[in-house]
């Protein structure tokens, strides 16, 4: 499955990454704040370039475990990224993710981009359920999930050691028929 790029929302454009996105992506991937609840540490410019090269190839999903990694642009500038991972084709399950430049928080961009990802997941990939996970301390992230209309299905306590301490996580989810009633 390969979406018809570019994907346009009211204010944003979602498209595969390009190596020329380096400066824009480095601008937020280097920040402590952005990485606080990610497994990654702040990127160096070289690490950003290395990862970007991988992400440019993540523009289609063929089998379980693969993701779409899309640049989210505003007026031509990459302000964040949105992902859709195929967890299981057999059980029609997927996972949504998003990371945004803090300079662009508070404008509803994450919700707008995530809605576009849900559309790809439910309408194009024909998924039955899409989930999203985050650290329980990452309130802006799970607020987006709630605003999208996702339900909190799990609160895992101490499921893993995360950056030196026990990590708690939320799992939110939405079913295809719930998505249909949103439209």
């Amino acid at each position: 499955m390969r979406p018809d790029y570019p994907i346009k929302t009211a204010r944003l454009v979602l498209r595969p990454f390009e190596t020329t996105d380096l400066d824009d992506v480095f601008a937020y991937r280097r920040l402590e704040e952005v990485n606080r609840y990610l497994y990654s540490e702040p990127y160096t410019r070289a690490e950003t370039a290395e990862n970007l090269a991988k992400w440019t190839a993540q523009d289609e999903i063929i089998e379980d475990g693969q993701s779409l990694a899309l640049a989210v642009t505003l007026d031509g500038r990459v302000i964040g990224e949105a992902d859709l991972k195929l967890l299981s084709a057999e059980h029609r399950q997927g996972e949504l993710g998003y990371i945004f430049n803090p300079a662009f928080h508070g404008q509803g961009y994450a919700s707008e981009a995530a809605r576009a990802i849900l559309k790809i997941g439910f309408d194009e990939l024909r998924l039955h359920r899409v989930q999203a996970e985050c650290d329980v301390r990452n309130e802006p992230s799970w607020r987006v999930m709630e605003r999208l209309g996702m339900r909190r299905e799990a609160h895992f306590r101490h499921k893993e050691i995360f950056k030196g301490g026990w990590g708690d996580s939320f799992v939110y989810a939405m079913l295809a028929d719930e998505y249909r009633t949103l439209k």
Binding site: E153, A154, F156, R157, K159, E160, A173
Partner: protein, 185 residues
């Protein structure tokens, strides 16, 4: 890690499976009621023999990903009345999972609870796990009823996260932490 067999609870002996356990094992693993909320169809004798063969090697844990599978033997009944498992999920994060399957003839007497408590003890005291989970279909009320009686907390209710025997299935995940186990002991 290899527990000091046999493990004795009030009314059961937990021990590795032995070849002669086949009939007892098959008696409940072939029961449709027992299998309703388990993966797989009721066992044929060949299925049970295969399971038994696998279980013979599951009496110790040397690396994550492995399962401990023990027979729950009732000296009073003179039979294996169920089996219990402990999975070592993660060495780094010190996580495990317990499971239990009992012969319906022997349900309702707290035997599964005794066996499950022993598995929690092995996990927390012998393996020094930090967190142990248990999962089941939400329709399997006796199973999650036991998880609650063990003092586990429901952490997840996944809705329609898999196709289970031809229809959408939900999942409960219960969990307990080592500090909770210690307080309850």
């Amino acid at each position: 890690m290899r527990p000091d067999y046999p493990l004795k609870t009030d009314r059961l002996v937990l021990r590795p499976f032995e070849e002669h356990d086949l009939d007892d094992l098959h008696a409940y693993r072939s029961d449709p009621e027992v299998c309703r909320y388990l993966y797989g169809e009721p066992a044929t004798l060949e299925d049970s023999a295969d399971r038994l063969t696998k279980c013979l090697t599951m009496s110790e844990l040397t690396e994550e990903g492995q399962w401990l599978a023990l027979a729950a033997y009732s000296p009073e009944a003179g039979r294996v009345v169920g089996d219990v498992v402990l999975k070592w999920i993660s060495e780094k994060d010190r996580q495990g999972e317990i499971g239990y399957v009992f012969n319906p003839e022997f349900q309702g007497r707290g035997l599964a609870r005794e066996a499950a408590e022993e598995m929690l003890r092995i996990g927390f005291e012998d393996m020094k796990l930090h967190r142990i989970v248990a999962q089941c279909d939400p329709r399997n009320e006796p199973s999650w009823g036991l998880m609650e009686r063990l003092g586990m907390r429901r952490e997840a209710h996944f809705r329609q996260n898999e196709v289970f025997k031809g229809e959408w299935g939900d999942l409960y995940i219960y969990a307990m932490l080592d500090e909770e186990y210690a307080r309850a002991s």
